[in-house]
C-alpha cells in the first residue's frame, strides 16, 4: 500500500464573471501520483505547471474558492478536509521554499518547537538542530539573521522534528550554491532512507535526479509521465513522453537541444493533448482528445504514441 496515492486529481478556481455568473479556471487536470514509504519522488515541471498547487492540495491548504475533484489517500485512508486538518503537521509536513515562510518576528527555535507535535518539544527541537549542525545559539535567532543554507536546514529540521512520515518539499533548492544544494537534497535522501516518503517538487532535473527514485513530469497541469530515475540515461530512449525526452535533451550534457514554443497558459484546457502544439511527433489523433493515462514499462505515460 502506497503512503500517498493521488488519483485523477483536478483543481479549478472559481472566478466570478460579471454579476451573477461564475466560471471555473482549471489548473490541475486528472493527475496521478503515488509516493511509497522510503522513496523520493520528484515532481518536475516548468513554473506554471501547477506543482505547488499539488502540494497545497495534498495538505488541504488551497484557498477556499478552489474546487477539487478526484481522490487522494494517505495510507489507504481517504484524505477528506477533516482528515487533512488532522494530518497536517502531524503526519504530513511541508518544507517550504525559503526563509520568507518563517514568521519574521519569532525566534526560529520557537517556530521549530511549534512544529513538534509529539514528545518533549524542546528536546526534539534541540535534537533535530544537532542533527543538522545548528548550534544552540541559532534557536534564539530571528529568520533575518540566518544565512540561506542555515535557513534551509532550519526548515528541514522543522519537518524532521515534527515526526511526519510524508515530507513535501516545495522547490527547496533555488538560489543555493551547489554544495549547499547537494547537502539539502542529501537530507531528503536520508529522510527517505529512514522510512519517510518524500515528495520533492523541483524544476531542476539534474539536481532532482541525484536523489529521486522516481520522477513525475508535469506539463500544463497534469502528470505526463512517471519514470524511474534510471530511465534518464543516454539519449533518453528509455523515456516515454516526448516532453520528458525534450527536457532531458535540453540539458547541457545531453546536447542542449532547446524545445521550441511556449507551454499553454494556466487555465487554458484544449480538448487535445496539451503538448501537441510543441510536439514533433503530433498527429491528428493528438488533437482529438486528451490522451488517457497508460501504464508502460513500469511507469506511467499520457501520450497516444508512446511505446
Amino acid at each position: 500500500m502506497a503512503l500517498l496515492e493521488v488519483n485523477d486529481l483536478s483543481i479549478s478556481f472559481e472566478q466570478s464573471a460579471g454579476w451573477l455568473r461564475q466560471r471555473y479556471i482549471p489548473v490541475l487536470h486528472q493527475l496521478q501520483l503515488t509516493v511509497d514509504a522510503g522513496e523520493v519522488v520528484a515532481v518536475l515541471g516548468a513554473s506554471g505547471a501547477g506543482k505547488s498547487l499539488l502540494a497545497h492540495a495534498i495538505l488541504g491548504i488551497l484557498p477556499s474558492h478552489a474546487r477539487i475533484t478526484g481522490e487522494m489517500t494517505y495510507r489507504g485512508e481517504r484524505l477528506t478536509p477533516q482528515r487533512q486538518a488532522a494530518l497536517r503537521g502531524m503526519d504530513i509536513a511541508l518544507v517550504p521554499q525559503s526563509v520568507a515562510y518563517l514568521d519574521p518576528l519569532m525566534p526560529v527555535g520557537e517556530q521549530v518547537r511549534h512544529a513538534v507535535k509529539q514528545g518533549n518539544k524542546r528536546e526534539r527541537q534541540r535534537e533535530s538542530f544537532r542533527l543538522y549542525r545548528l548550534g544552540e545559539e541559532v534557536e534564539r535567532r530571528y529568520p533575518f539573521q540566518l544565512s540561506g543554507g542555515m535557513a534551509r536546514r532550519v526548515l528541514v529540521a522543522a519537518a524532521t522534528a515534527s515526526g511526519a512520515r510524508l515530507i513535501i518539499a516545495d522547490e527547496p533548492t533555488p538560489g543555493l550554491d551547489p554544495d549547499v544544494m547537494r547537502e539539502a537534497l542529501g537530507r531528503f535522501r536520508e529522510l527517505a532512507d529512514v522510512g519517510c516518503g518524500v515528495l520533492l517538487i523541483s524544476h531542476d532535473i539534474a539536481s532532482a535526479l541525484t536523489v529521486a527514485d522516481r520522477i513525475a513530469v508535469m506539463y500544463a497541469g497534469t502528470v505526463v509521465e512517471i519514470a524511474r530515475a534510471a530511465d534518464f540515461a543516454g539519449d533518453g530512449t528509455a523515456l516515454r513522453h516526448p516532453y520528458t525526452r525534450a527536457l532531458w535533451q535540453a540539458l547541457p550534457q545531453n546536447g542542449f537541444v532547446p524545445l521550441p514554443g511556449e507551454p499553454p497558459q494556466l487555465g487554458e484546457r484544449p480538448h487535445a493533448c496539451a503538448f501537441a502544439s510543441r510536439c514533433s511527433a503530433a498527429t491528428d489523433a493528438c488533437l482529438h482528445e486528451q490522451p488517457p493515462v497508460r501504464e508502460l514499462r513500469r511507469g506511467l505515460v499520457r501520450c497516444v504514441h508512446a511505446s
Partner: protein, 330 residues
Amino acid sequence: MAVIRQLVPWALAQCVKLLLLLAAVSVASFGLMELSPIDPVQAYIGADMMRVSAEQREAIAAYWGLDQPPIEQFGRWLTSLLQGDMGTSMIYRTPVTEVLAEKFTASMWLMGTAWLLSGLLGFGAGVLAAMKEGSWLDRVIQWVCYTLASTPSFWLAIMLLLAFSVWLGWLPVGLGTPAGVLREEVSIADRLHHMILPVLTLSVVGISAIALHTREKLIEVLHSDYVLYARAQGERGLLLVWRHGLRNIALPAVSLQFASFSELFGGAVLAEQVFAYPGLGQATVEAGLRGDVPLLLGIVLFSTVFVFCGNMTADMLYRILDPRTREVKA
C-alpha cells in the same frame, strides 16, 4: 545594552530636531502674529472698547510691552521663554505655564482614556474584520469606519449629548464639574460622570483609523507565506492569529496610535467645546477667539511638543521592540 548604546545617538538627534522645530515654530508664529490685523489690546479689552480712553489704551499696551518694536518683543519673549516663563495669559490673568499645566491635566485624563479606549476598540474591530474578511461583519465594520471618518466630530458630540443627556437624562449636559460647587468639593465620581460623554466622543472618533489600519495589516499577514506555512503545520483559527497575526500587527498598531496625537488633540478641542469641558482644547478656542497671544503661542509650542513626543515614542517602540531594527545581522 546594545539597544541602549544605539538609542543614545538617536535620542540626541531627536532632541536637536525638536529644538530646531520649536525655534522655527516660535519664529514663524510670532512673526506672523505681528503681521496679523488683530489688535491684541482691543482683543484684551473686548467689548469695553468704547469706554477706554486713548491713554488707557497706551498704558495697557505698555504694560504688556506691546508698544515695543516686534523684534524687541520677540527677543524679550524668547529670553523669558528660555527661563521657563511663557508670559501671562491675558484672559486668565495667570502665567501661561500655570494655565497650560492646569488645563493639560484636565485634558490628559480625557485624551488618555479616549486614546486607550479607541486603541483597544479599533484594534479589536480591525482584527475581527480581517479574520472574517469578505463577510457581512467585515463589510459592516468597514462601512462604519469610513462613515466615522466622514463624520464631523462636534456633530457626533452633539448627537451623543442629545441622546444621553437630553432624552435619557442619564448624564449632565456640560461642564467638567457641576456648576456652583467649589473645586475642592468635586468628587472623583462627579468628575468621571462629566467625562463620560467627551471620552465617548473622542474614542469613537479615533476608532476608524486604527481599525482600518489593523484590518489591512492583518489581512496582509494572513495572506503571507509564513501564515501559509503555519497552516501547513496544522495551526489554525484563533491560535494561529494569536501566534503569528498579533505578533506581526501589534507593533504597527501601537505605533500608529502614538503617531495619532495630532488628531487626538484636534478632536479634544472640538469635544471640549461641545461639552464645555475646561481643558486645553477649550483654552485654545478661547485664546484664539479673544486674541490671547501669549496663551496661544504657549499652546502652539506645547502642542508641538505633545505631537512630537507621540511620533518619537512610535519611532522608539520600533527601535526597541522590532528585532529587525534592534540589531544588525548577527
